[in-house]
Amino acid sequence: MANYLVESYMPNTTSLDEVERRASRAADDLSVAGHMVRYVRSIYVAEDETCFHLFDAESADMVRLASDRADLRAQRIVLAVEHEPL
């Protein structure tokens, strides 16, 4: 399992509740089917109209699959390292 960062263009976003619901559900559905993917959290950067979503997954492809199911319109999926504060 590794961390992946998904970048998507989301203009006029005021709440991430719906996005988080869709992302969790997509990851859960894929997990039920036996895949290793988990939605962690999202961060929205209003000035850039860009949202970053963090996933734990077995591969970038799996994240792409989850993003598509959640309709996140990912432009870019990259490997990331999540660092827990000490």
């Binding site: 263009y9 203009p11 006029n12 000035e47 850039d48 109209e49 860009t50 319109r73 870019r76």
Partner: protein
Amino acid sequence: MPIDGCARRAHHRGTKPQAEPLIGREGELLSLISFLDAPAELPSALLIEGEAGMGKTTLWQSGIDIARERSFVILEARPVAVEAGLSFAALADLLEPIMDIALPALPEPQRRAIEAALMLRANDRAALDQRAIGTALLGILRRLAADTPVVLAVDDVQWLDEGSAATLAFALRRLTREPVAGLFARRTEIGARQEQTWTTDLPTTLITMGPLSLGATHALVFERQKAVLARPLLRRLHELSRGNPYYALELTRAWQAGNLNLSESAPLPPDLLGLLGSRIAALPKPTRHALALAAAMSRPTLSSLERAEDEDVGAALGRAFSERIVELDRDELRFTHPLLAASAYAAVDSADRRQLHARLAGVVDDVEERARHLALAADQPDEGIAAQVEGAADLAFRRGAPSSAADLMAEAARLTPPDADVDGRRRSFAEAEYRFEAGETGRAAALIAALIDLTPPGIERARLLARQARFRHFGEDIRGSVALLREALAEAGDDAELHVEIEEGLVWGLLMNRDDIRGAAAHARSAVHYAERLGSDAALAEALAALAMTEALAGKDARATIDQALALEPATLGLRVLRHPSFAHGYLLNAADDLDAARVVFAVLQGRAEERGDDSSLAPILSHLSLIECLAGNLELAESHADDAVGMALQSGQVPSQAAALGRKALVFAVRGDLEATREIAGDSLVLAHAGDFDPSMPQAAAARGGELAIWALGHVSLALGDYPTAHRYLGPLCAFLLDAGIEEPGEIRPLGDEIEALAALGRRGDADRLTQHLERMGTRTGRPSVLGVARRSRAIVEAAGGEVETALEHAKGAIAHLRSAGMPLELARSQLVVGEIERRLRLKRGARASLGDALEGFERLGAQGWAARTSAELARIGGRASSSTELTPTERRAAELVAEGHSNKEIASLMFISPKTVEANLSRVYTKVGVASRTELVRHMDRETGKT
């Protein structure tokens, strides 16, 4: 419908390339949707503005798609830079889809004008009438909008050709409640011809295309170029493109091709134009060549390019298609962005460019476009080319594009060989005329001045001087104009046409300045003589109309002359409505107090002017109608005509017309006795007429520029309110000026009666007597009851001032007898007031009460509060029964009773046939007399009086 060989090809664009999905423009899209979803707000416009590459066209195209989904009728045009000079190119595009149904429904002159503009009909240059074209477009829009809302969509309005721009502005300005939505896009900065930027008077919502966000930029390059950028690169791209989507895409394209380093440390990439330039430069030579050719044409098509080139253009353009520099819509070639066209054109050197234009001159159909190519192809004088370009310039002018015509004519002059100096001067002269028509008066005057210096004395120079005089006249320097015309006259030789022009110019100049009526008459006769020799009915009709005016002003019977002019009127119908002899006829009828006949004539002229959209004629026509109604006692109608006249004068930008219209309005308020409003409106009129502080002792300049009635209004209101010194201060110099000018037409010296009354009240009986004699002479000569009546009233006033009260009474009663049939209620009531005043002095109380009662009723019916107040005061001085200051007059009592019955002021006004203002004035006197402070108290008072408790 006959379509000749040089007809402008219809540009149906068929299925348009679909709008690309909008990225980063969600807010703008919402504004667009809410604009199109609010038909109740129409007519109005939405203007999308932004620099090149910001995505205006994409948003504009989305607007069209959305409107289409909502079943709007779509009329669209996308002008390109090259055609900014080609007359009516955009109008042809706008009307193309509806032409077959719209044209047959138009009235004949409008249909012919549109057909001539769009060159659907050969050799019908006479039909070209800019106003008729505008009126036709307005009619088409109205008819379409009656069934379905209409979107009038124009991209890149900065490139609208002159003719289309003027036509659109004309029609849009006249929309009132029609569901027509303007959807316009305009480029700002980079390369836009700001001085030609077109605007509309419709209420406009502005969408300014700002920069895209970082995320939107990423989404855009991802969608269009499949580019995935790491944050540092994305940030750099966003920074370099400054959020400009087209630039961002081009940068990405160059980066993807390995031609650009986007890292922070790399040198700055070229700007958007530079980038596009390198993209063009990277293409094979035949492709570049074909692109430059296409960029030089207003409407490039594959077939026309093939005719210009011997090579296989389709093959040469292969790369340009695959790189989406151009796209093909049936046969028509279109650059995917205007900047690409500019870059393609800039990519060839000047020698190649000349060659390219020479080739295009051989293949394009449009006369104007061919001339432009010929001019651009020639680098040295060539009479053949100069002549062709001159012909195209004339055509452009007739098609309503004076600025393009002037540019072409300047080219023709440049290409004229040095030894052909007569041709060269003719072309420069024409350029000056076109510049003048295009509103470039400074350049026009400079050109003419330079030509006058170059030209030896003689007919040619006389023509130049006459033209300079015309420029001066329009620049409102009438005196300067007259001086130039006199100089021109001396050199005009035997040229009948030139003589007509000069003599008529002199007539109007002298009449307007009012300084030499007799001289004007001599010039008018000379104009008639030359017009007869010229054999032109139109010129003769105008000359005769001018002669009739001078005859009337000089106190002669002008009926025979005006009848002759009217018989020739059909020949003048193609001219501005002001130049139809009927206008002079209406003027004379009005002056002669034949108000009913004058009203009919001006109503007919109003119809003609409206049909053609001849605004500059409408203002004076409405001003005349206002004066007619004012004299006839219909003050509300007079005010509304005056307001319309002011509006029209404002629209057509004619300052003297505006001053004159405001003068009419001021007179209405003066008759009402509203001092404050009269001062304000007359003040506005005089500021326009005079520019600077107006000195009542020197009325000449202001009177000649439309201020005459404002001066009269200021005098009249003061007289009505009993302020005689002020009345005389305005009216004295005005009357002296008009009399000194030799005006013998009483209808042109209407303030005379007022001035006599002021003089008598100031104890200047001798002066009053002298003016009265003048009025009496004019009355006897004309036999008009109105003049005879005012003359006898004036005589009564003069006699009464001298103590000859009994003779005075006789005259005053005689005045009433004359004025009963004159249809001028104010003059009648004023005479009744004079009778009443004299009777009171003679202690004929009953008679005085009856006369003053009649006068009061007359004033109140008119809404002439000042005069009414004066009459009430006079009644109050009679003493005895009916004059107590607390007793209500019959009008006041009736108004009070109607209030008690619960009627509103408006209802009372219509029940009593008086204006709401008069109702108010009556009621305020009632309040004072019965001692109440409110309507409720008044009702209670009236109830008590009638015993209702």
